[in-house]
């Protein structure tokens, strides 16, 4: 069995499960964001449920619409606060950051865990060696009532990453390369495992980026086999947590194994409006950038700020370019302040806003006008995602976004970097 199957079996109270089988599972944690909590509470009432089964397993995070800019959201958040109290939910994080950034930060994600969330990027957590996946609001409401959800056991595809990064290349470029090679449906309904010698060397921040992006290849969950790096990360975040990693029995447990040499990958950019339409950053200098959007659950971690500040230090944004920065969490924000990274980015001319999803949730500041071009270290270049449907969104790494904000057009970060990014 694959480790993902074993995680499902464990949470279904079974010894074994088969790929394709549908079983009822009890997750370790369920994340409800502001929208998810409001909708799930509403749907739960319609289902005839009054008390939730499992307040200790529920984590409520306000990130998409927080702080609210519409009256309907402030009313809804007031109701959710009351509901959280009523239901005895103690794990409540409003304004502390994006759910997918704070879940690993606060130690809710751990090896062998099963995590559900009311958001597609819940898959981010799977970098820790757990099964993490997004569910709809009715799904979560049903869990809150009954204490379990149905889950189909996925086949798993493994990407064996090896080779050395060229200057300016990082995990985001690997994800874009996979989208380019295999499409937006590279892994429909599948588990996606990253393995190979390069994965073993990647720090947790880079692993989180890889697994964050698997939803945009159609996957159910990512997976990285827990190792020393994982153990150190979890020990620092949740020292009291007892966990046992699941392991995969053999190569027979994969539907497919793909070899990927990262040495040939250049800094890449997905152009509008398709994540699999990927070009080399150095070939897009004719694209003028109106706004850089920096942050989100893909690129809002402290390591992203370090990379950006290293590129932006002593430089100014191009006169026609603005940059919207939203740290992924309060912890990231405070650490970036302590290290002087916020100072560097603001000196360069960036707008640093609140923690949360930023323009990527469509509910924060920084919306684009028609025909404007934006480059972002978020995960999606869907039409209309940052405002006008006539605007263009280019998706790239943190380094490429910072470098392009300075240049005012899309450039390869290798051209602007004073020193090679270290991994």
């Amino acid at each position: 069995m694959h480790a993902i199957s074993k995680i499902i079996a464990k949470h279904a109270d079974r010894k074994t499960v088969e790929v394709g089988e549908i079983v009822n599972v009890t997750p370790d944690y369920v994340m409800l964001n502001d929208r998810g909590a409001a909708r799930a509470a509403d749907l739960l009432r319609n289902m005839g449920g009054d008390r939730i089964c499992c307040p200790d397993q529920v984590v409520v995070v306000f990130d998409h619409h927080y702080p609210p800019i519409r009256q309907q959201d402030s009313i809804s958040q007031k109701r959710t606060r009351e509901w959280v109290k009523e239901q005895g939910i103690t794990k409540f994080h409003a304004g502390e950051g994006i759910g997918h950034v704070i879940f690993p930060e606060k130690g809710y994600a751990f090896p062998g865990a099963l995590i559900f969330g009311t958001d597609s990027h819940t898959v981010t957590n799977s970098a820790i060696g757990c099964l993490a996946t997004g569910l709809g609001h009715s799904d979560i409401a049903s869990y809150l009532a009954l204490g379990y959800n149905w889950l189909r056991v996925p086949e798993v595809i493994r990407f064996d990453l090896h080779g050395e990064f060229k200057p300016g290349v990082c995990a985001k470029d690997i994800a874009l390369r996979i989208a380019q090679l295999y499409g937006e449906d590279a892994a429909p309904y599948l588990g996606v495992e990253f393995s190979g010698p390069l994965t073993g060397k990647l720090p947790m921040s880079e692993r989180l980026v890889l697994c964050n992006m698997v939803i945009d290849f159609g996957a159910k969950t990512g997976y990285i086999q827990p190792d020393e790096i994982t153990a150190r990360f979890v020990a620092a975040r949740a020292p009291d947590r007892k966990w046992i990693a699941c392991t995969t029995d053999s190569d027979e447990d994969y539907g497919r194994i793909v070899d990927l040499d990262v040495s040939e990958i250049e800094p890449l950019v997905a152009i509008p409006h398709d994540l699999s339409d990927v070009r080399g950053a150095s070939k897009l200098s004719s694209v003028r950038i109106d706004e850089a959007v920096f942050g989100t659950c893909t690129g809002g971690r402290i390591e992203d700020f370090r990379i950006a500040a290293a590129i932006m230090k002593g430089r100014k944004l191009a006169p026609h370019t603005r940059m919207m920065v939203n740290p992924g969490s309060r912890e990231v924000y405070m650490q970036a302040m302590r290290e002087g990274l916020i100072d560097t980015m603001m000196q360069a001319g960036a707008q640093v806003g609140i923690t949360g999803c930023g323009p990527c949730s469509g509910c924060h500041q920084g919306m684009l006008a028609p025909a404007e071009n934006s480059i972002t270290n978020a995960s999606r270049n869907f039409r209309g995602r940052f405002g006008s449907p006539e605007a263009n969104i280019y998706v790239a790494s943190s380094a490429t976004v910072a470098a392009s904000a300075i240049a005012g057009c899309i450039v390869s970060p290798a051209d602007l970097m004073t020193h090679q990014l270290t991994h």
């Binding site: 909708r39 009715s138 799904d139 449906d185 429909p188 996957a219 999606r380 039409r383």
Partner: protein, 175 residues
Amino acid sequence: MHIKGRAWTFGRNINTDLIYPKMWFRPTYEPGEMASHLMVGIDEEFPKKVKRGDVIVGGQNFGCGSSREEAAAAMKEAGIGAVVAPSFGRIYTRNCINVGLPIVVSPGIDEHVTQGDEIEIDLAEGYIRNLRSGYEARLPPMAPESLRLIQDGGIANYTRRVLEERRKASGAALA
């Protein structure tokens, strides 16, 4: 389950941002509200044009992206008979099953249907037919658990039933 309706066709990789744009997100919805925004990311007039019983035929990876349940719930509310595509986004698939909307995988279907064609689907018999062109294909078998949820009208009905059974059981235990 037997479905017959007029087809609306869409392309590949239609994401849920397009099916139900986030500007129409609400914490709670009035009856009919979600249906009034269905597909407006692609065609603002679509909610006026679509009729109950119509069938949506998409290209590969239909419903990819964001987990928003509104993408499935708005179709259910608009009375869409079924949504058919060669493949679907995973969370969208779950959401369709959970709201009781027949979701039908049919490889290559997007090449055999044009806008306005009359489509006939039988989930129990496992076939899809284009009544205009005469095209017919067998459907890959659907998991019985999924089919049952769709036939039951979705996960809300299932959950209500289980809660009711639990209440009866605990009532019996007390008596």
